[in-house]
């Protein structure tokens, strides 16, 4: 039977119905992929799904999540075999790459790997993981930083590692401070600093760095609130840190914010600050910039990309408290709101680029299949 285009098996941690940056990225990626020329459909097998899946775009079929690792591997293999022919495997997370590479080998089809951030630069990587990445026909990375860090430990032709940044939802656009949030946080007439992120135990996002600058900021701008949006296990530590620095009454924790309220939280804020040290990209920066508020980010990681190397916001060395404090002060002194500053990351541009990458990938497919079939490179040891 003639097929209208490629059939793709996508192995992802979470996508439709998931929370957080990676789930968002996967949704954007898979939706855009399904609408590429010559793509028939994408079969998505997620590990997790926090919420019931309401709607998926045409061309995407998301299977039921399988949480246990072993069951997931078996399920992935089973899906691959029962849904043949599969033209290529998309792997949405580095942790899954050995599985994805194995399946792409079994099916003798090429592999497309997506990498994000912390999973690339934080852990020791096994030889299996490295070789699996090296077997990929194409790797897309959310940022230049993640790409650079990946290339430090993976021996792959850099020409095969491309950057495809996050994109931003049109719900994020400039607007007045919403009354219901001004009321909820008693923020009327006050300046609002905002950080939005999971409060993870990894502690790299930099909330603590902001809290440490607060005493200095409050000297100049006593009516400032620091809103920490997002839930997670690190909250108790941050709460006691705020107490320790005597700023507890100026720091408010919102807990998890429902997605539909999130754009309003950005509009409530005057300054979005997240001096993170290990950001793969930081989609929240795009959301903040799209609402036109001032943005401060760390200069040592993928945040650079989100802020266009400083063209769209202020970059500071996250380890330098002085630099951070003066950047926030400057922003509070002049909390000017602009129009949408995230225009260069709009979904149509993302989709166009993905389409171009898909074309390149398709052109390479033939050759890489042959390469996959050949035995692994013999390696030299010291």
């Amino acid at each position: 039977m003639a097929r209208s285009g490629s059939r793709i098996l996508a192995l992802v941690t979470e996508a439709f119905g998931g929370h957080g940056g990676i789930a968002q990225y996967n949704r954007d990626f898979l939706s855009a992929l399904a609408s590429c020329d010559r793509v028939e459909h994408v079969i998505v097998l997620p590990r997790f799904s926090a919420r019931p899946v309401s709607a998926v775009p045409t061309g995407v079929r998301q299977l039921r999540p399988v949480e246990s690792k072993l069951a997931y591997s078996l399920s992935a293999l089973w899906t691959a075999i029962t849904h043949r022919p599969i033209d290529f495997v998309f792997c949405g997370h580095l942790l899954m790459v050995p599985l994805a590479a194995g399946i792409s080998r079994v099916l003798n089809v090429p592999l497309w790997l997506q990498v994000h951030g912390i999973e690339v630069f934080w852990r020791e990587h096994s030889a299996l993981e490295r070789r699996s990445v090296e077997s990929a026909t194409m790797v897309t990375s959310v940022s230049r930083h993640t790409r650079r860090r990946l290339l430090q430990w993976v021996g792959i032709d850099p020409a095969r590692v491309k950057v495809l940044p996050n994109t931003v939802d049109p719900h994020y656009h400039p607007g007045p401070k919403p009354a219901y949030l001004l009321e909820r946080h008693a923020a009327g007439g006050k300046k609002v600093l905002l950080t939005v992120s999971r409060l993870g135990v990894e502690r790299y996002k930099g909330h603590d760095r902001v809290i440490r600058t607060l005493p200095r900021l409050l000297d100049q701008h006593p009516d400032t609130i620091y809103l920490i949006a997002g839930g997670g296990d690190d909250r108790p530590r941050l709460e006691s840190l705020a107490v320790e620095y005597g700023v507890a009454k100026n720091v408010q924790f919102t807990g998890s914010v429902p997605p539909e309220e999130l754009p309003d939280y950005f509009r409530l804020a005057d300054v979005f600050v997240m001096p993170s040290a290990m950001e793969g990209f930081g989609i929240v920066f795009l959301e903040a910039m799209a609402t036109g508020i001032r943005v401060i980010a760390g200069s040592q990681d993928g945040s650079r990309d989100a802020l266009g190397d400083g063209a769209l916001g202020t970059l500071v060395d996250p380890e330098n408290g002085e630099e951070l404090a003066s950047a926030i002060l400057a922003a509070l002194d002049d909390p000017v709101r602009t129009g949408d500053r995230a225009t260069r990351f709009k979904p149509n541009l993302f989709a166009e680029d993905l389409n171009a990458l898909y074309k390149l990938f398709s052109a390479k497919k033939g050759r890489s299949c042959a390469a996959l079939a050949s035995p692994q490179r013999r390696e030299m040891t010291v």
């Binding site: 430990w153 266009g308 680029d353």
Partner: protein, 611 residues
Amino acid sequence: MCGIAGIYAYHYAANPVDRAELRRIRDHMAARGPDGLGEWYSQDERVAFGHRRLTIIDLSERGAQPMVSADGKLVLTFNGEIYNYRQLRASLEAKGRRFRTQTDTEVLLHLYAEKGEAMVHDLRGMFAFGLWDAEKRALLLARDPYGIKPLYYADDGWTVRFASQVKALLAAGKVSRDPEPAGLVGFCLFGSVPEPFTTYQEIRALPAGSTLWVDRVGTHETKQYFSIADTYCRTEAASSPTNDEGQQLGAREGLLDSVRHHLVADVPVGAFLSSGIDSGALVGLMRDAGQREIQTVTVAFEEFRGRREDEAPIAAEIAARYGTRHTTRIVTEQEFRNDLPKILEAMDQPTIDGLNTWFVSKAARELGLKVAISGLGGDELFGGYPSFRDVPLCVRALAVPGRIPGLGDLIQLLLTSVFSQSLNPKAAGLLKYGGSYAGAYFLRRGLFMPWELKAVIGADTARLGLRRLNPIRHIEALLKPKPRSSFCRVAALESSLYMRNQLLRDTDWASMAHSLEVRVPLVDSKLLSQFASITAGNGSQSKHLLANSPRVPLPPKVVERPKTGFTTPIQSWLQRDNRIQEWRRVPSLAAYKCAWARRWAFQVSAATAGA
């Protein structure tokens, strides 16, 4: 002959080109092109080209670069010389193409418009260029067959930058300085950094004889359009003139043709002269090609005066025979000491060589020369190195025992653990490597052996770099397809490794630092196709073909003189220099018998790593 630079912000999210950045990259190469500078920016500010010019052909302003085609669709920034540009131009004009200048640069623009990237096959010469095709919205980078002219690029995932020098790319601060272990390991193994690696992860050399496209999805994979091994294979299949006389006639014709092409210039062309056959014969052929005034220059050392190593007397004799204006330039230890910091600064990538080229280029420039002919490449083309004899011998002796699985590794481990200090490290690797051409060549040219690297650059860097470089495979890849004769195999290896990564690269930085263009008539793809079949038959006896080519023969003592390795007193000057004693900290280097080149390599990598 110039310095080229460019930036292409190809990614949709990338910032537009930063003009100040382009200028910093370009002007870091001021010495490559002191006579002029230029820049070009696309209307949307996504593409920028820069150029530093050393005027040699069409000295007028019309020859300035970057050059835009008459229809505005193509832009070129080009470093090098196209020696057959007049023929190319004539055939393009015959097709109705109209020219505005007398330059080879403009020929490239028209040739691309006519043939697209396939144009590279028509070019005879040395070149590296970046060409912007506005209709395709794509950048083409290309480099000559042998890699005489350098070209480096850095793709960070958003923006690609290219330049003639690694250090220029780093000058503007936007290219990552993350080290590339494969480049560092390669330098320690070979004495020069093997392309495509550099010592920086983000910066790659465009391999010799390759092209590269960059478009909206960034850099594509590099495409090789010329391979030395492949040329040898094809000419082996073809027949060659059998009698001596026919060979000699063919050789003279080919050599004279190459020399004639290499004299194309609107400024005087001089020559480096040593006591050897290669440079001497070239000077003779320059005369035969009709050049009347020839400035020749030889470097000599006070320490060698009256000794066998002194090249000056024989060089002077050759000069007298061909009636050149000859200069013997004495280099002293004091001058060397003064120049050393400048040398390390100009050294674009770590290398254990290039010092001599530095001084002879300096001398040539002092004499007012902008262009000099060099005999580089003669030993590769005519089998002048001992490796042409040693490598095949080694392979024949060890091919059978070398095939016993694990035996080589075992013996290497045993020998290195038992005789860790006293044994020559290469002896331990004899069985492990000696049985194949790639392995035997590695033994012949290797500076350090892989198991020694730990002590020199640290275990992690060594492990990572060895895995990525995979040295034996790296060498084997240059023998694909594999020529049949042992001569052609060694010639292909010498030309694709030692000559490319060491001799040619060193010649480039050391001469360009003095704004001098060095031309190498013996490094020429057309000449190679002509000679491959002849030399393959004659083996290492081929040098006489070169020696007998000038109409006025070389003095007999030049031809009969046994080949001595080129020696200078620089080694002992370095030994005495108290600024470079860091090698003493590494026990294996401080060992009494350690070869000086290894200490110098360590010193150089330390100096460049800090830069």
